[in-house]
Symmetry: C2
């Protein structure tokens, strides 16, 4: 998934593909991004079965990339078969349907990571969106208007996959933008005071 | 603040008070909670001026305790004088006024930490609330009804104090609870089918 194109999911295969990846290049052949040296060496020194913090950050960034490419066949590499989202036991299939529905509601949807906080088993992510949902979004009549909003979301990982999600989306920000006047092209102004 | 009751704020004093605290007891005299051994030794081995991850978690838990006690005179120990909250430069005084206003709107407000994700400079916190706001909350007519909701919030710390906050509150959860029927004490039911 990260370097072994054509590899199917599975933690053992994932780990092997990481170990095969030469640290000399320090560059991901898929995304062309530079990679810190200790991120590579961190993986090799960890005990079998565990997922390191830098590994988790990399998996998460690849997951977001998978969503943005709408590469649903790869979703199983990132999401557990019994995944829970906001207390709903969606499973992998339900999770995929949720995402597909999001992209129907927001055709230009793009997940942008503002920043992450990562520990041994969790990723906390600040996501920001700038998009034009076609109809209603969270019961709000957006109707193609451009809106910007954020999502603060936590993920618990198990065996390198998302097992549980706690997501809160800033609905108030969308409401505030919809209640704003559309900006006028020509705003009548009275800046001159009459000379007495 | 943590162990030196009567100590004023200041990172140097805070650090000294932590070092004075005997690791032998492993118990905070203020809150009576057991403390992991490595949390104490982590502090002593860190370079001057830095704030460790376990230190940051402890500071954050003390901050939440400060809010729950409404101990506003101690807020300066936790919040920077130029603190930013959701892009508003509230400063320490504005931050305090925001919290005081929260407690007026929700007299039984209590901040409950569900879980944390902590790195070298940030705390990500899942907060849960169970309370009875007196009037409107986030423009919703709660009017004393019991509601449960969550907040996903990030804090950037600088020199051991909260410098910036990104907070998103689950307004949709409150809306959903307000749209529910009040539970009936006696629900009329027709479970028996007539015997033909």
């Amino acid at each position: 998934m990260i370097v072994g194109m054509g590899l199917e999911g599975g933690d053992e295969k994932r780990r092997k593909s990481l170990i095969r990846w030469s640290p000399a290049s320090q560059t991901s052949p898929l995304f062309g991004t530079a990679w810190p040296v200790d991120a590579f060496f961190g993986i090799t020194t960890e005990p079998e079965g565990s997922t390191g913090m830098q590994d988790l950050e990399r998996i998460y960034r690849d997951y977001i990339d998978c969503l943005n490419r709408q590469d649903w066949s790869r979703l199983e590499d990132f999401v557990a078969v019994d995944a829970i989202h906001n207390d709903r036991r969606l499973g992998l299939d339900g999770y995929r349907r949720m995402l597909e529905s999001d992209f129907r509601a927001i055709p230009d949807l793009h997940f942008n990571i503002d920043f992450l906080v990562v520990d041994a088993s969790k990723v906390a992510s600040r996501l920001v969106f700038d998009c034009r949902p076609v109809g209603k979004l969270f019961d709000l009549p957006v109707n193609g208007r451009r809106i910007r909003f954020s999502e603060n979301v936590f993920y618990r990982f198990s065996s390198g996959r998302i097992a549980q999600v706690w997501s809160v989306i800033d609905k108030s920000a969308i409401e505030a933008q919809l209640s704003e006047e559309e900006p006028a092209y020509f705003q009548p102004r009275m800046t001159q005071t009459p000379i007495s």
